[in-house]
Symmetry: C2
Subunit: 397 residues, 2 copies
C-alpha cells in the first residue's frame, strides 16, 4: 500500500489494539477531520438496531460531524439502555481527548451481538488512539474495524471539480451478515469536497442504493450496518449545491468508489471463492427485478453450485421461479456470460463445454431476461463454501 | 420394517431400477389402487413448474385417479413441450400396462432440472414395475423416489371411523430444495377411507398447510413439489362429507401423518444434524408470524450457529429484526427451550451454561414472543453443515 494513495486533506486517522479482541489485532479506530465536516449516513433497517446506530441516526440529523470512533469485536447490539450508555461513554472519551463537542462524534461497532463493550479498555485505548492520529493513518483505521475480513478494503478517487482537486477515500469491513439495506456493515468515506449537507445526503443515499444495497454474501442484514460520509470542504472547490454544475461529477466519483468498495465486500465474503454478478433484465418493475435477483443471489443451491463449479442452471431457474414474481416461463431467457442456457421454456443443448469453462472462473455473470418490461437490477453475490460454514459454525460468542 | 405396517387395503405398489440413476438404485415407482379413488393434490407455486406437475394439475380436477407413477434421477423440469410429451408417454406406458384409462394416471418426477427423461428405459421398466405390484410394495415404491435422502420416510395411521377401521399410509422424499409452498418435493398418501373428492381436497390442503408448508431445509422451493392423496373407499366407512361427524377425526389422522412425514423431511434434510423448531408467537397477523419464523429458519447464520452448537442468539434476533415486519425491540422475548435469552431489548445474563447444554441436543425449540398480538406459526428447520455444501457443490448435473 502506498500511503499517499490514502490521504485526504484535513483528515487524520488511526487504529490501535485496545484489548476488545483477544488476539492482539487492532480493534479501535478513529477518523478525524481537522474541522467540522458536512456529514451524511445510511443505516440498517433492522428492527434491533445496535446502540451506536441509534445514536448516529439522531446526531447525523444536524448534517455535521467531525469524528467517527469505531470498534470491532463487540457489536454493542441487543444491549438495551446499558448499551446506549456505553456508546455515549465511548463518544465522550473521544470528544474529550480530541477537544471537540461531543455531538460531533459518531460511533460504530461491529462484532458479536448481545455483549457489552469493555468500556474500561476502550476509554484507556482512546488516549493512544488520539495521540497517534496521522494523515497516513487510514489503513490503520481500516485494520481496526476488520473482523473475519481476509483483506482490507480501501478505495480512493481523485478528480477535478471546478479546477480544484478533490479527494475521496473510503474504507469498509464486511465478511458475514452481509445483505445491507441502506448500508453495509461498516463503511466510512472521507472527502475534502465542499458540499452542502442536504445535497451530500442525497448523493450519498443514491450511491448507497447502487453499491452497498446491491450486494449480498448471505442474505443476512445486520443490526449494525452503518455507512457514513464526512466532507470537510478543504479542497476549496465551488460549493456543491443542488443543481450545481459539478454535482454530477462528484456523484459519479462517489458512486464509483462505493461500488468498488461493495464489490470488495463480496469478494471478501465469508468463505467466498467466487463473485457472481446477477443481472435481472426486462422486469415489469424495479421491485420485481430486485426480488428475482436477490432470490437467485441468496439461494443456497445456486451458491453451492457455483462453489462446486457445476453449471446446474436449473437451480437458477428454480430460484427465480420461486421469488414470488409471476414469470412467463416461455419468455424467460437465461445466460451464463453470453452463453444461452434456457430459452422457450427449456434448456439450450450443446453448450455444456462452454458452460463448464465459464464455471471455472472466479467472476461469473448471470443474466436473466424476464421478457416482461424494461426495468433491471444487478446484484453481486458470493458463493457458499465449506469455509462459510466453518467460519460461522465456530465464530465464538 | 414390518411389511404389514405399510399395507393399505386395495393398494398395490412397487419400485424398480429402470436405469435412470446410474448407480443401480431404484428409480421408478408405482402406486396403484385396485379401483378408481378420490384424489386431491397440492403442487409447487414455482413459475417454472415441471411437466408432470402441469399434467397432474390438469388431471386432478376431476377428483379421481387410480395410479401414480413417479421417477427419481431426472426432474423433467425446464424441458418445454418435449418434457410434456415425455411425461404423457410415461403415463400411457403405465395406463396401457395396467389396463386403466390414461387420465386416471398421475405422474411425478424428482431429480436434476433441465434434463429429458430417458423414455425408452422408463417404458421398458414399466413392464416389470406393473408385474411386480404387490400389497407390501409401498417401501419399494418409497425407495424408488429417493434421491439424496439418507433414509426412507413412510408413516402410517389406523383408526376407527364409524366402526370401520381406516388405514392411511404416506411416503415422501425430500433432502434438498425444500421449502415447499403448497407441497413438498414428492409425497403420496394412500387411504382406504371413503370420502367425497371435494371434501378430500379441503382436508388435504388444510393438512398440507400445517405440515409440508411449515418446514424448510434450505429455503428453496422446487419446480416439482407434488403431494397427492388417493382414497379408494374400501374401508366401507360411512362416506365422509362436508359437516359429517367423522370428518374431524379423519382430518386429524391425516394431519398427524403429514406432520410426521414433514418432520422426517427436515430430519433428513441435506447434511442436517439437528432439527430446530421455531415458534413465533404473539404476532399481529399470521403472515407476520410466518415471515419472522421463516426469516429465522432460513438464516444461514442461525443455521450454522446451530450446527456449531454455539448459543449465538444474537443471530436469531438479527434475523427476526430483518424479516420486514416492524418489531417492538423492547417487547420481544426470545427463549431457547424454556430458558430466556433476550428480553427488554437486551440479553439475559447468567444462563450460558444451560444454553450450552441445550445447543448440544439434536432437537431444539426456539420460541420468540413478539408482544404484538395473538397469532403464531411454527416452522421446523434443519441446520447448515459442511455436508450440505458438500452434497450440493457436487450434485451432478
Amino acid at each position: 500500500m502506498e500511503p499517499n494513495n490514502y490521504r485526504v486533506p484535513g483528515f487524520l486517522a488511526n487504529g490501535v489494539h485496545a484489548g476488545i479482541k483477544t488476539d492482539g489485532r487492532p480493534d479501535l479506530s478513529l477518523l478525524y477531520s481537522t474541522r467540522p465536516a458536512a456529514a451524511a449516513g445510511v443505516f440498517t433497517t433492522n428492527c434491533f438496531k445496535a446502540a451506536p446506530v441509534l445514536i448516529d441516526m439522531e446526531r447525523i440529523r444536524t448534517g455535521e460531524a467531525q469524528a467517527v470512533i469505531a470498534n470491532s469485536g463487540v457489536a454493542n447490539a441487543a444491549t438495551g439502555a446499558e448499551g446506549l450508555a456505553d456508546a455515549r461513554a465511548v463518544s465522550r472519551a473521544a470528544s474529550g481527548e480530541l477537544g471537540i463537542p461531543d455531538e460531533l462524534v459518531l460511533v460504530a461497532s461491529t462484532g458479536v451481538i448481545g455483549h457489552r463493550l469493555p468500556l474500561g479498555k476502550i476509554v484507556e485505548g482512546v488516549k493512544g488512539l488520539v495521540a497517534g492520529l496521522h494523515e497516513d493513518g487510514i489503513p490503520a483505521a481500516e485494520a481496526g474495524i476488520m473482523t473475519t475480513d481476509r483483506f482490507p478494503k480501501i478505495v480512493s478517487r481523485k478528480g477535478l471539480i471546478g479546477s480544484k482537486e478533490v479527494t475521496l477515500c473510503g474504507i469498509a469491513k464486511g465478511a458475514g451478515m452481509i445483505e445491507p439495506h441502506m448500508a453495509t456493515m461498516l463503511a466510512f468515506v472521507m472527502t475534502d469536497a465542499d458540499i452542502e449537507p442536504e445535497v451530500l445526503n442525497v448523493v450519498f443515499r443514491q450511491a448507497a442504493g447502487g453499491s452497498f444495497n446491491a450486494v449480498t454474501v448471505d442474505g443476512c442484514m445486520s443490526t449494525n450496518d452503518t455507512a457514513i460520509i464526512l466532507a470537510n470542504g478543504l479542497a476549496g472547490n465551488p460549493r456543491l449545491k443542488r443543481g450545481s454544475h459539478d454535482l454530477g461529477r462528484f456523484g459519479g466519483m462517489l458512486s464509483s468508489l462505493m461500488v468498488e468498495l461493495a464489490r470488495e465486500l463480496v469478494r471478501d465474503g465469508e468463505g467466498a471463492t467466487k463473485v457472481i454478478e446477477i443481472a435481472v433484465e426486462e422486469a415489469k418493475t424495479l421491485r420485481d427485478a430486485q426480488r428475482v435477483a436477490y432470490a437467485i443471489a441468496n439461494s443456497n443451491l445456486v451458491k453451492t453450485a457455483f462453489f462446486g463449479g457445476d453449471p446446474n442452471w436449473g437451480r437458477i431457474i428454480a430460484a427465480a421461479g420461486a421469488a414470488g414474481v409471476p414469470l412467463p416461463a416461455e419468455k424467460v431467457r437465461l445466460f451464463l456470460e453470453d452463453v444461452p442456457v434456457f430459452s422457450g421454456g427449456r434448456g439450450v443443448a450443446g453448450r455444456e463445454q462452454e458452460l463448464a469453462e465459464i464455471m471455472k472462473r472466479t467472476q461469473i455473470r448471470v443474466r436473466l431476461e424476464l421478457g416482461m418490461g424494461r426495468r433491471s437490477w444487478t446484484v453481486f453475490a458470493s458463493d457458499l463454501s465449506f469455509d462459510y460454514v466453518k467460519i460461522n459454525a465456530h465464530y465464538h460468542t
